[in-house]
Amino acid sequence: MYENLNDTTTDAGIRAEGLGKRFGDFTALEDLDLVVPKGSVLGLLGHNGAGKTTTIRILTTLSVPTTGSATVAGFDVISQGAEVRKRIGVAGQSATVDGLLTGRANLEMVGRLYGMSKKDAAERADELLNRLGLTDAADKLVKEYSGGMRRRADLAATLVSTPPVLFLDEPTTGLDPASRNDLWEVLREQVAEGVTVLLTTQYLEEADRLADEIVVLDHGKVAAAGSPSQLKQRVGGDRIEVTLADAADAGPAAEALAGFAENEVHSDPGQGLVTAPVRAGTRLVEVVRSLDAAGIDVTDVHRRDATLDDVFLSITSNPKVEAHS
């Protein structure tokens, strides 16, 4: 997919060039290039303050960029804001539904504001409430909803007009795993119908599961970009994390782990922690055996998913492969 980035037929999706945003002296976003072909998902990955929300606000016409330009669904976000707004659905970071209206009233209001008739708005509201499992709570005030329900109501409001381009700002932050899975499923359905999605997340796993392309933002700059498999290749898959009984063993432990690693082993002697991105199929017992054979005493060995921090760690320790944008 990455090879198709310059394909001009992708104009119906999202395209940004040299996008930047300054707040006074502070640069929140710098020189961001993006192409999201129609019907694909771009995951914007980054810690708090990386510039994710800033990017979404610019692309959804809520904020004007200080540099660069962007088109959404083929329309310029600065000069054709009204056209853009007709074609997008936005789920903001703080759930943007009215707490003092019922779930149903929220959706009906949004539908009416899109110019739907009363009847159409009511039907669409019913349909979405049903789809997102909110039928039982439809006539309760949104302020009484749980966090997960509020998110779902928010997503429903975002989908009211059946928009061809969706923006979701950290849609699963604060959700329990079950609600997160539900939401992922709704998103996949949308994508299957040809909807273009830009979502932000702080979780590598989420970007990996949902996105066709990932852009990693760090302090407003692109730190890495590529498909999940490209990123995986660079970052490595699962991690094996070893906690040493004696921090002085960090060196030998890293050597012992190197045999299983598909990428650089990272040791943090200060914490007595050694982390290795391990090849698929590596067995934990073998790791423990080889540590034991090297005479290293450990207090904990476990396997975990790679995280965003691992991405940054591997980027900074392999600066050569960083450049990609």
Partner: protein, 259 residues
């Protein structure tokens, strides 16, 4: 236009959902009516008539002045939460938000005026003037309410929280309405306070409403100019407030909803 109505309906729905909002502009002034009419009324003398007839104009104006709180809190809430972003991402004109908001607040205000007039009639207040004058009185009340709603909207737009709005409302409206002729004739006030009360725009609006309803005004013979020409002065005050506050609000709203 229909966007405006849809958004106005949303605000009115809020009033239905949080009855406190309505209580502020109905039950609370009713308490004032009862308290002043029956508890303090006996000890406050109005030279040119009955205290109950005097009182209602004051309470009407005080209620409308406090009416700046509702719109202030409403807009501060929308700006503080993500709601305004949701609305701004929809294909509607940005101005419909403000017009819908003002429209809903005006509707709530009309209800408050009606409830208070009814309560007044029950405790012995009455309209003693001609029909055109009575219409003028209600017209002035509506104009004043309109100015206060815009003022509240400005405060709410600039405030960073709803607490700031209620804080400002209490800190300004309470002193302004009590340092006026709303509840006691200015003549009974000590020197210094009396001058403040007579130049206070609230006094002037209260006096104008009383004049137009044909109620006792208790305007002293040597009152300050605005009190001697209350109707003209009140209209002047309202127009002045609107001329300053409306453009400021629109600018503040546009600024807060950009970026």
């Amino acid at each position: 236009m229909s966007e405006t109505l849809i958004l106005a309906r949303r605000n009115l729905e809020h009033v239905r959902q949080i009855p406190e909002k309505l209580i502020d502009v109905t039950l609370q002034p009713l308490m004032f009516v009862l308290l002043f009419a029956f508890v303090f009324g006996g000890v406050i003398a109005v030279p040119d008539g009955d205290y109950k007839e005097y009182l209602i104009g004051g309470i009407l104006v005080q209620t409308l002045a406090f009416g700046l709180m509702g719109p202030g809190v409403a807009i501060a809430t929308d700006l503080g939460e993500g709601m305004i972003d949701r609305l701004r991402s929809l294909p509607i004109r940005r101005s419909s938000y403000l017009t819908g908001h003002i429209m809903a607040e005006m509707a709530a205000t009309l209800l408050a005026i009606a409830v208070l007039s009814g309560a007044g009639l029950l405790v012995g207040w009455g309209i003693e003037s001609s029909l055109p004058e009575a219409i003028g009185a209600y017209g002035l009340l509506v104009l004043f309410a309109f100015a206060m709603i815009w003022l509240g909207t400005l405060i709410g737009t600039m405030a960073r929280s709803t607490d700031v709005v209620t804080g400002i409302a209490f800190m300004t409206v309470f002193p302004l309405t009590f340092l006026s002729n709303a509840f006691v004739p200015t003549e009974s006030l000590p020197d210094g306070l009396r001058q403040v009360a007579e130049w206070n725009p609230i006094s002037c609006v209260v006096a104008a409403v009383r004049t137009l309803f044909g109620n006792p005004t208790a305007i002293p013979g040597d009152a300050a100019w605005p009190l001697e020409h209350p109707v003209v002065a009140s209209i002047g005050w309202c127009v002045l407030i609107l001329a300053i506050v409306v453009p400021m609000t629109v600018r503040a709203f546009n600024r807060r909803t950009t970026d």
